[in-house]
Structures are given as structure tokens and as C-alpha cells.
């Protein structure tokens, strides 16, 4: 069996086959999604395309061309036909960035951070407080919105806050790290867990003595950066109208806009992560993960490098937090729960600790699983339950199926199984980390 697949893969990965496969998937997927925008299988087919692009042997230039075609043309167009896909990709990008950040902390430096989502909250609340009317509501009762409240900053400040969020989260990371980084690994895990809870509880409770976070009510509305008018009015809209079959609305353009923004940030995140990984800093982190005592004996300043890992990891989350707040125009403490931290951890573990392509894959898989597959499965079951259909052999009527079996309810179960099974059978993840081959050395032979 194994050899059969190996042979098949080898065959598929030689000559012109890779390009045929990728283009085939691309075309079939695109047409599928275009024709039936609600079909999950069509969308998943399309999502296979970037994966194949990554795995198969294709000329780099062709790869980039197809990738750009997919990202810049196909997905936005299809996304306007069904904005839910843009949401899916947006969430994939957000969580991929979070997973990349957490990967620096856990995967590279080997520090288990169970409160990672706290940094995400720091970024989100930074823009939420300054990008909303909250500053003029500091003395009012949460929930009540007096008439005179004004936005404190212009929406264009969003761009500044994108950077501020990164910096703020990094500083928070250092502040957390300073006292606790000397702790042993598993103590650190629990302390960070506590820290994550502390940030959430603060967000929940800082509606008094001054109303900074609006407590459980959450902050809304939060401003979005203005769209360039060409999008809403100009030729782009006219060009898109016949292709997507209707006049795209501003809301749809906003979805496209956040999609691109998220992609740009994730590209930067990938670039930063890969460059850090393959440098003096990244090597130091890996050395610390592998053997702390040996690393420090080799002259690596332990605390400084760990702080750097915390700060770098946190900064990714901070940036994405700002983006998230603007996208949702609403922020509340419920988003930053422990479950969210574990979700990101699951992504990192599933994809492969320390492996950059791995964690991106992990994030995408978990997001699709959570918001598409499990939900769709529940909807499907519910539709079956409304019908008179029966399971043929055992003669079980679908409508007798308990509501309690809806798969969407068992997110934690799925996370839990992924974590345990991966740790036992494949601790290095689905796409394990690979060390860079140093061509320079071997070429000389």
C-alpha cells in the first residue's frame, strides 16, 4: 500500500504532471465555487490548490504566478460571490499569524505559553479603546451611550495603531516575561495560563472605577480605515459587476479589503518568522529549546533570548488583534478565552511544532474544521432531522437523532483528540519542521 502511494506520488511529481494537477484543481475548484458558491466541497477543492502548489515540484516562477493569480484575482472574485469565504480566509490568516507567533514561543524557543491570546487581546483593545467613542465614555455607566460621545481619533489612525499594537503587545510580552522566565517550563505554562486569564478578567472588569473597556458589554462601534473611493465607485466596481453577477456593495468591498490586509500581514509574518528562524537569533532559540544548559554554556544569554522570543511571538498577536478589532467593529472579553489559546496551540501542534508551513497548514485546517466542516455537518444533520429519511439498514429515523449529537458542539472534543493523538503518534506534526540545507557547504564538495 505504502509503495503504491509512493510510486503514485513519484509519478505525479515528475515532468509536466505537477503543473497539470495544480491547474486542474485550480480550474475545477474555481468553476465549482463560481457555479455553486455555497458548496463546501468545491471550496475545499480550491483550497487544495495552494497545498499542491506548495508540495509539488514546479518551477518557482510558475508557482508564484499561479499563487498570485489565485490570491489576487480568483479568490476575491469568488469571495464577492460568497463573502463567507473571505471570512474563512480572513480567519485563516488571523489564526495563522497567531499560530506563527505562538510557534516562535513554543516551537522555536520551547516555552509553553498557555495564555497567548492575552497579547491578541492587548492589540484588539488598543484599537478598540482609541478607535471608538470609548474615551469620551470613561465616566459613563457601561451600556449607556450618552448622545454627545464622539470618536476620539480619525479612522486613518488605524494604520498607526497597526504598528502600535505590535509594539504594545511586544512590551506586554516582555513585562510578563521578566518575572516568570526564570521558571521551569511547566511552571511557566501555568503562570502564562493565569496571565491569560488575568488579561481577560481585566478586560471584563475595567468598566469601573473608570470605564475603560466597557466591561462585558464590549466596545462597539470601532472604526475601520476608509476605503479608497475607486473601489466603491470607480472602474474596479464596474469591472467586477458582470463577473460576480451583481453590483458589489461597500460591505463586500470591505470584506475584500480585510482579506487583502490580512494576507499582507500574514506574508509579513511569514517573512519575519522565516528570517528570524534562520539567523543567529533563531538558532539561539532552537538551542535553548534543545538544551538550555548547553545553550547557556555556549554563550547564549538565556533570559534575553527568551524575552526576545516572548516579545516577537506577542507582537504577531498584537498586530492581528488591531486588525481583528477593525474587522469586527466590536470587541468583547469573550473572544479572549482560554479555549482560544488552546485552539491556537492545537493549530501549532497539528501542523508541526517549529515548522512554519506546518503551523499555517494547521491554522487553516482547524479554522475550516471549526467554522465550516463542523457547522455544515450540524446543518446537514438538522436538515436530515427535518426530513423523514431513515438510515437504511438499522431502520433508524433521522428525526429521532438527538440534538445533542451536533458536531459543532464538540469543538473541545476534537481539539482534545487532536492534541493527544498527535503527541502520541506524531509529535512533530503533519508537516514537520525541516532544517535548512546549507548549499554553500555542500556545493564545495
Amino acid at each position: 500500500m505504502k509503495t503504491f502511494f509512493t510510486e503514485l506520488f513519484k509519478k505525479a511529481n515528475t515532468g509536466f504532471w505537477p503543473i497539470v494537477i495544480v491547474l486542474g484543481i485550480l480550474i475545477v475548484g474555481s468553476i465549482g465555487v463560481y457555479q455553486s458558491p455555497r458548496s463546501l466541497s468545491a471550496f475545499l477543492t480550491l483550497m487544495l490548490c495552494p497545498m499542491m502548489l506548495y508540495f509539488l515540484k514546479i518551477n518557482m516562477k510558475v508557482k508564484i504566478f499561479i499563487g498570485l493569480l489565485l490570491i489576487i484575482v480568483i479568490l476575491p472574485v469568488l469571495g464577492i460571490r460568497n463573502i463567507f469565504y473571505l471570512e474563512v480566509i480572513f480567519q485563516m490568516a488571523v489564526f495563522a499569524a497567531l499560530a506563527l507567533g505562538l510557534n516562535i514561543v513554543i516551537g522555536m524557543a520551547g516555552l509553553l505559553d498557555l495564555g497567548y491570546v492575552a497579547f491578541y487581546a492587548v492589540g484588539a483593545y488598543a484599537w478598540a479603546i482609541f478607535g471608538s467613542k470609548q474615551l469620551s465614555l470613561l465616566n459613563s455607566v457601561p451600556g449607556a451611550a450618552p448622545a454627545g460621545a464622539e470618536f476620539s481619533l480619525a479612522p486613518t489612525y488605524f494604520w498607526l495603531f497597526l504598528f502600535l499594537g505590535v509594539g504594545l503587545a511586544a512590551i506586554t510580552g516582555i513585562l510578563l516575561g521578566l518575572p516568570v522566565l526564570r521558571l521551569r517550563g511547566d511552571y511557566l505554562a501555568i503562570v502564562t495560563l493565569g496571565f491569560g486569564e488575568v488579561i481577560r478578567v481585566l478586560a471584563l472588569n475595567l468598566d469601573k472605577p473608570i470605564n475603560l473597556t466597557n466591561g462585558p458589554q464590549g466596545i462597539t462601534p470601532i472604526q475601520r480605515p476608509p476605503l479608497p473611493p475607486e473601489f466603491i465607485m470607480g472602474p474596479i466596481r464596474n469591472l467586477l459587476t458582470p463577473i460576480v453577477g451583481h453590483v458589489p456593495t461597500e460591505a463586500e468591498f470591505y470584506n475584500v479589503f480585510f482579506y487583502f490586509l490580512a494576507l499582507i500581514i500574514i506574508m509579513i509574518a511569514i517573512l519575519v518568522a522565516t528570517r528570524l528562524e534562520d539567523s543567529r537569533i533563531g538558532r539561539a532559540w532552537t538551542a535553548i529549546r534543545e538544551d538550555e544548559t548547553a545553550a547557556i554554556a555556549m554563550g547564549i544569554p538565556l533570559v534575553k533570548m527568551k524575552l526576545a522570543a516572548f516579545a516577537a511571538g506577542a507582537s504577531f498577536a498584537g498586530g492581528m488583534g488591531v486588525l481583528y478589532a477593525a474587522n469586527r467593529t466590536f470587541v468583547s472579553p469573550e473572544t479572549f478565552s482560554f479555549l482560544q489559546s488552546i485552539g491556537v496551540l492545537t493549530m501549532v501542534i497539528l501542523g508541526g511544532l517549529g515548522s512554519i508551513p506546518g503551523v499555517i497548514f494547521g491554522a487553516s485546517a482547524v479554522v475550516i474544521l471549526n467554522i465550516q466542516v463542523l457547522q455544515n455537518f450540524s446543518l446537514y444533520l438538522s436538515a436530515l432531522r427535518q426530513s423523514d429519511a431513515v438510515i437504511p439498514i438499522i431502520n433508524f429515523e433521522w428525526k429521532n437523532l438527538s440534538n445533542q449529537l451536533d458536531p459543532a458542539k464538540y469543538q473541545k472534543l476534537v481539539f482534545g483528540i487532536i492534541l493527544v493523538v498527535m503527541m502520541i503518534f506524531r509529535p512533530s506534526g503533519l508537516i514537520p519542521a525541516e532544517r535548512r540545507k546549507r548549499e554553500l557547504v555542500e556545493d564545495k564538495e
Binding site: 455555497r38 470584506n255 497548514f361 446543518l379 436538515a383 427535518q386 429519511a389 459543532a408
Partner: protein, 427 residues
């Protein structure tokens, strides 16, 4: 074997499993048609891809529900969904007669805003969905309705009492229940006038709903000169000792709990055991028979327990007896709070779609449905439903209910001590 290859293979296996699992749900568009061809009245629907009503004048119309179907509040969330389901079954006949296949698309918002918003995007992207029923939690409704608003999709809320839901003035957001800024003062008035309370201890559950109600209550209480002994929020669900110690010491006349029954029940029980003798007061979050199982005799001893609600028990509505019977027959349990509101919200949706379809002479647009809702005067189970310019009921019904039950089975013995119609405060 090459590691990379192994990785690829495992990825492929996972992907194919996912695809296999969803090969079926791909048919989510028309599952009834694929799985149970015997059932469908219009087999043509099998061929019709889900691209929406544009495919034919008499296509599929879907009505979404979004409420927590899982988690601690699923009892109420499921009640909304099941009420809507029953309404669709009983009242969907008109639209079916017009040639539409009307389906329910129930979404689970898990009582969290993130899931709610992601689902909302999924809902608005499904052009077959013309109307929606939801949510349970105001904290989820507020961000999600931003999506409904931008997509022009009308939603009818069966349960959200937070004022902000409608005060934003969106055409697409309607509710068939009252508001916290009326409900909480009504509760306060009951405490002040009927119970003659001089002091009150306010506790809330640190949710958007609970805190909102608590704040309105506090404002009203302070205006009437009632001493607010303490104002605490807590996420604790099991051990309230630390809050109860100062509470018992202060011995206020009334404890006002703004939150949901499953937390409040435990609190009431522990507070009563610790020696609190005053009255417990709550709002519509208390309205569940589980409360009686949780708190037991704590509800009837001492000063007893009462709550205000925007959704009276089914017995409060003259036409509801049949509903209770049908609901119990279909789902095997008596309707919980909001089931009748879910029924009515669905009824509003169906009536509006029908009116809009008749006016448009074919499948209506979402905007036509949204406008039709505002123009509607609908005779529901709970009241005659019509909406003002922000989507509130001009006159909403509020009840004050005294609890006589000490276990789930006797929940029906609770008595309505007062009910009144109060106008919406508007924007």
C-alpha cells in the same frame, strides 16, 4: 520513506476524509431532496443548485435561526429553535402553496460573539435565506446584526432585551420582546412599591445582558432612594460563599440577580442556606423550570422569589394552549421560555415573506422582506405584533411572576402577579 512525502500523504488522507465527510454536506443546499426523494414535493429541487431564488421563481426559501444550541444556555437557545421549527411546520403552508420549498437553517452561535459573526457571514452569503430568527444573547446579537444590516437581511429577535439592539436604528433589526431599560425599572418598581424594599443587593453575571439589566436597576433604585448595599459581578458558578458572607451580614430586603437561571439557582440556594431571609428578584433570565430544580425550596421560603419577564408563560396567552400541546407532542417536553417567542418570530418572518412575495409577484428581495416586516401587523401567540420605526414593539408586555415551584414539575404553578403593557422608550 521520505518524511515530506509522508506528510503530504497524511495531508491528503485528511483532506480526502474531509471531502468524503462533506461530499454529503455538499448537498446541504438541498439535503431533503437528496436523501429523501420520497418526501420532496418538488423533485426538481434536486437538480437546482443552491444558487438562490434567481434560478426559478418558485425556488427554495430558507429562514435561519441563530441561538446557542450548545453550552450552558442551550436550553433557552434550543427552545427558540424548536419554537421556530414548529412555526415553520404549522405556518409554512401558505408559502408552500405558492410553490416555495421553505426550509429552516438552524445555526449554533454557542453564545459567543465570534461564532455568531462568522455564522452571520455564512448566513448572509446564502442568498436563499430571506429572514432570520435570533439571537438569545444581546452580546452576540449586537455584533452579528452589523452583518445582517450591511447585507440587508432582516432578523427578528425573540429574546434580546438590551436597548442597543434596536437603538442603532437598523431597518433589519426587529424584536418582539420588551427592553431592559423598561424591564429593570419595572422590577425595581415592584421591589419598591409592592415589596416596600429599603435596601437592595445587586449581583450580575458579568455578561452584556446581566450587567446591562443590573445597571438599569441600580439607576432606578437610586432614584427611588433605595440603598444599594453592594453591586457585584461574578463569573463564579459553584461557590458563592465569599459574596454571601457580606450579603447575609448586610441583610438587605431584596437581592436582585441579573443573569441566567443556571447560575442564579445555585446562588439562591446557597444564600438561603446561609441565612438570607429577604426576597430574591430577577429578570427574564430566570425564566426556566431548571431554576426550580436548582434552587428548590429556597425560592419559596423567606421572602420568596419573583422575576420580571418579557416572555410570559404560555398560559399567559389565550391562544397558547394549543401551542403548548403541539410543542410537547413534537419535542417531548413542555416549552421553555422563548419557545413561544421563537414561534412568533418565525411567524413574523413567514408572514412578511408572504406579503413581500405577493407584492413583488415572485420571490422577494431581502429588502422587500425587511420593509414588509415593518409594515406588518401580525397576530401572534404572545401579542399582536407590529413594529415602530426602530424595530421595537410600540407597546410591549411585561410580567411579574412569583415563583411557587420548588421542582421542575411544578413550574406551572407560578403565578402572574402583575402584567402590564409599557411603551418602548424609542431611540
Amino acid at each position: 520513506m521520505n518524511k515530506r512525502l509522508l506528510a503530504l500523504l497524511s495531508v491528503l488522507v485528511v483532506a480526502s476524509m474531509v471531502l468524503a465527510a462533506c461530499g454529503a454536506p455538499a448537498a446541504t443546499e438541498a439535503p431533503a431532496a437528496t436523501e429523501a426523494p420520497a418526501m420532496t414535493e418538488a423533485p426538481a429541487a434536486t437538480e437546482a443548485p443552491a444558487s438562490g431564488p434567481a434560478a426559478g421563481s418558485m425556488g427554495t426559501i430558507k429562514i435561519a435561526t441563530q441561538s446557542p444550541l450548545s453550552g450552558g444556555q442551550s436550553l433557552l437557545g434550543v427552545a427558540i429553535k424548536q419554537g421556530a421549527e414548529l412555526a415553520l411546520e404549522q405556518l409554512g403552508g401558505d408559502l408552500a402553496a405558492m410553490g416555495y420549498d421553505v426550509q429552516l437553517a438552524p445555526y449554533d452561535d454557542q453564545a459567543t460573539p465570534d461564532v455568531g459573526v462568522a455564522n452571520a457571514k455564512n448566513i448572509v452569503a446564502d442568498s436563499a435565506i430571506l429572514c432570520g430568527v435570533g439571537h438569545l444573547n444581546s452580546g452576540v446579537m449586537i455584533p452579528s446584526s452589523e452583518e445582517y444590516h450591511t447585507a440587508g437581511l432582516a432578523f427578528v429577535s425573540p429574546a434580546n432585551t438590551n436597548p442597543v439592539v434596536t437603538t442603532r436604528g437598523y431597518l433589519e433589526v426587529n424584536r418582539i420582546v420588551g427592553r431592559d431599560d423598561v424591564q429593570a425599572p419595572a422590577a425595581e418598581e415592584y421591589a419598591f412599591k409592592t415589596l416596600g424594599a429599603k435596601s437592595v443587593f445587586i449581583i450580575h453575571d458579568k455578561t452584556a445582558y446581566g450587567q446591562g439589566v443590573a445597571e438599569f436597576f441600580r439607576t432606578a433604585a437610586e432614584e427611588d432612594g433605595i440603598t444599594v448595599v453592594d453591586f457585584v459581578g461574578t463569573e463564579e458558578t459553584a461557590n458563592f460563599d465569599a459574596i454571601i458572607a457580606p450579603l447575609v451580614a448586610a441583610a438587605p430586603d431584596v437581592v436582585f440577580f441579573a443573569g441566567i437561571y443556571n447560575q442564579a439557582g445555585v446562588f439562591f440556594k446557597q444564600a438561603r442556606e446561609a441565612g438570607f431571609e429577604g426576597t430574591f428578584l430577577g429578570t427574564d433570565g430566570m425564566d426556566s423550570s431548571d431554576l426550580a430544580d436548582l434552587a428548590g425550596t429556597a425560592l419559596t421560603t423567606g421572602g420568596g422569589m419573583a422575576y420580571t419577564t418579557v416572555a410570559g408563560p404560555a398560559s399567559a396567552y389565550p391562544s397558547a394552549a394549543q401551542f403548548v400541546e403541539d410543542y410537547t407532542a413534537k419535542f417531548g417536553a413542555a416549552p421553555e421560555a422563548y419557545a413561544s417567542q421563537g414561534y412568533d418570530a418565525m411567524g413574523v418572518c413567514l408572514a412578511a415573506i408572504k406579503a413581500a412575495a405577493e407584492a413583488a409577484g415572485g420571490t422577494p428581495t431581502r429588502n422587500q422582506v425587511a420593509l414588509a416586516i415593518r409594515a406588518l401587523s401580525y397576530e401572534g401567540l404572545t401579542s399582536t405584533i407590529a413594529f415602530d420605526e426602530i424595530g421595537d414593539l410600540p407597546l410591549a408586555k411585561y410580567f411579574i411572576i412569583k415563583v411557587n415551584a420548588t421542582s421542575k414539575d411544578t413550574w406551572g404553578t407560578n403565578e402572574i402577579i402583575d402584567s402590564f403593557d409599557l411603551p418602548s422608550p424609542g431611540k
